[in-house]
Amino acid sequence: MSESRFQAMMYFARWKITAILSVCVLGLLVCIPNLVPRASLPGWFPTRQVNLGLDLRGGSYLLLEVDVNAVVRERLEGLADGARTRLRAANIGYVNLAADQAQRRLAFRVRDPAQVPAAMAVMRELGNPVALGAGATAPDIEVASSPDGTVSATLTEPSLRAKASGAVEQSIEIVRRRIDETGVSESLIARQGQSRILVQLPGVEDPNRIKQLLGQTARMTFHLLDETANPTAASPPPGVQFLPGDRDGQRYAVRRRVEVDGANLSNARAGQNGQTGEWVVNFTFDSIGTRRFAEITRANVNRPFAIVLDDKVITAPVIREPITGGSGQISGSFSAQTANDLAVLLRAGALPAPLTVVEERTVGPELGADAIRAGMIALSVGTLFVFLYMGLAYGLFGWFANIALLVNLILLCACLTLLEATLTLPGIAGIVLTLGTALDANVLINERIREETRNGRSPLNALETGFSKASGTIMDSNLTNLIAMACLYGFGSGPVKGFAVTVAIGTVVQMWTATTLVRLLVSIWYRTRRPRTLPV
């Protein structure tokens, strides 16, 4: 029989055979780094590896939410402060100055209607520019007036978005710095959606300390105290707020005005006071902070000032002399741990808005190891079952399909390696299921070949028709699987995405192994044996 009688589907050019076999060998090579330790491989070897998900290797997954409303609140408070000072300076009388958080608006009524334009001009000056993209900027507030003399400043929609986005970006940076300070390696911090931050901490069994570090905004500010106000009064005078102290029931009348901000710190370290031995935090200001602090202390000798951390007065000492060196010391009731934590927080900087942990998943390493073991057992038993069934039910062509299935598993692993995909527990389930679905194409082809043989076709003709007629159906049926997995990937989250990825890759790979590879095996077999009947 000459080669020319070997029809299209069953004929493989030599280069094609070489290409197919080299794909298989390359796949195997790519998989190797997952199985043997890195050190025992030569240097030129590819280093990519499948990552194990936190559910398999152990670790902690935290989803944090940035309280974007706090950013709005803060901006409105800033506006209100600014308005009070500027209006007073411009001699504009006003009443009912109030911020409306829900409407993102600050409004007040001007006493003398003739001064409305002046008041509006004052408010406009308080606007901060927001980048609108393409180099254009616009003020972040819209100032409007109504006939009764009410002037309002509303935060605009784009500015709100920019602020929220900026707050999240900035939070990510701070979160990263704080986590780096704790020495956790390989942590992954990424933005998720509009206002969430995803934190993955491999190997962390008890994320409590990290949660505590992330749970504080750590905004430190220096204020003057209002000595004339009575801290036990029901409500504070304008421009003053009552803040609690360290001990129960302690209250301070703190001026709202921020004299120096913690953002102007350049360093902070925990240490012990040389005389008393108690734990303190030593800090250094940057040049702006140094100058501001020197001015304040010079002007307010013998008056108390307050160091406020997250709306709580840590300490309120009396200024003995001007402090011009730009460094200082915070003493409160610290322990070694709390002093250290505060130093870490001050070094990393304040969060622009509070963070809440909205989802936590922590898995210890032993549970992950158990899961891997169980997955491997399921995979081996499943392979055995499927192999026996295929071989016994379909004979030689079934065994060919089994060889293709092994290659399929190797190539699936290779694809995951090349993509540096994350293998999760559901992902392992996906691999096991791929065993089952991968053989679908072969079942289709075998049934078809058998049918064509029964219809009286010659062996070669039956093989030819079987492979070509089944291929359309195989394409169709696999696409449905891919559609379902795309839906799962798009709307699922976390480990379940790993499942969608493995099943989808498995489906694509098996389309190739089940058709091309099996066809090659059958073709080689046919050429060497020249059977008169097919073993179907």
């Binding site: 936590e360 899961a371 016994l392 004979g395 089952g436 679908d440 359309g472 449905t480 839906c487």
Partner: protein, 325 residues
């Protein structure tokens, strides 16, 4: 030895003998009615007593802990009951040293973390040397979003399947497939309700896999129907459907069998997390195989009695030409 190889190179058994002609269409009314009944019952069960929603969808806190010796359940229960976070469920999980603690979802998001910390320290106090194997805490809003995401994925996949089959075949096939899918999905939900298997993202993944696999099954039968529609232009639709089902029977059962054999070890040895997923899959495979035979194709007889049959007296209805491949 050689004889054994000889023997192994030939098929040892067939699931269904060749020349099988089971008149499936005769049972179509009964099959459909039975299927519809099961699905209605499933929907009722999914409403009352309802599904056992997992932490993904319900929110709350789950902790798996391992004590050094057999756990002292009553002491742990009393200690945890004193915490102000609602009913704490404590149950054995696998062996007597492992416990599963469940706390309901907390009103405030921030409260959830406080509850985790308090439970952690309480259990460490009552059972010294305890190891915390796993903590999952999901807040209200996140669980709502996860649930929404899961449902959207499910709905979207059904829609996509219908469009795909409509595009590849004709609309009757698309409608037939989706009706069948809805009947199947509801039964799987019913199965979850009866077995109290947790309904969570992983089970949704199982349902979606079943949907993909099931449509794949239907495509094969429909493909054969289309082929036969072209080959036997005068054969009555009823007979033609029967013929197509019988011709693809071995394949339908064969594929289901390989998937079943792959999923079974997952259910038996795959560990607690995957067992629910795998049982759900197993049930789905059986349902999908049987509905490929009894529901998907017979449903076409109701939808396409006149339209799908060509070359007969019913040409009055406009017939769209099937795409030639």
């Amino acid at each position: 030895m050689i004889a054994m190889f000889e023997r192994l190179s030939r098929p040892l058994f067939r699931l269904v003998p060749d020349n099988t002609h089971i008149p499936f269409m005769r049972g179509r009314i009964a099959g459909l009615a039975f299927s519809a009944l099961l699905s209605v019952a499933s929907v009722v069960l999914a409403i009352t007593p309802g599904l056992e929603k997992g932490i993904d969808f319900k929110g709350g806190i789950t902790m798996e802990v391992r004590t050094p010796g057999p756990a002292d359940l009553p002491t742990i229960r009393t200690a945890l009951a004193r915490l102000p976070f609602g009913d704490v469920g404590v149950q054995q999980f696998g062996d007597p040293t492992t416990l599963l603690l469940r706390l309901p979802t907390q009103g405030e998001e921030a409260q959830t973390q406080a509850a985790v910390a308090a439970t952690r320290s309480t259990i460490e106090q009552v059972a010294p040397g305890v190891r915390i194997l796993r903590v999952e805490a999901v807040g209200n809003r996140v669980s709502d979003e996860l649930f929404q995401g899961g449902m959207i994925a499910l709905g979207l996949s059904l829609l996509a399947m219908m469009l795909y089959i409509w595009f590849r075949f004709e609309w009757q096939f698309g409608v037939g497939a989706v009706v069948t899918l809805i009947l199947e999905v509801t039964k799987v939900i019913g199965f979850l309700a009866v077995t109290r298997i947790e309904f969570n993202l992983t089970t949704v993944a199982a349902v979606l896999t079943i949907v993909g696999f099931s449509v794949n099954d239907k495509v094969v039968v429909y493909d054969r129907m289309r082929e036969n529609l072209r080959r036997f232009k005068t054969m009555p639709l009823r007979e033609l459907i029967d013929r197509s089902i019988n011709e693809t029977l071995n394949r339908t059962l064969g594929t289901s069998m390989t998937l079943l054999l792959a999923a079974l070890p997952l259910a038996l040895f795959g560990g607690d997390t995957l067992a629910g997923f795998a049982w759900c899959m197993l049930f789905g495979i059986v349902i999908s195989a049987s509905s490929s035979i009894f529901i998907a194709a017979p449903i076409l007889l109701f939808l396409g009695e006149n339209r799908l049959r060509r070359g007969t007296e019913a040409v009055a209805a406009p017939v769209k030409a099937a795409p030639r491949t």
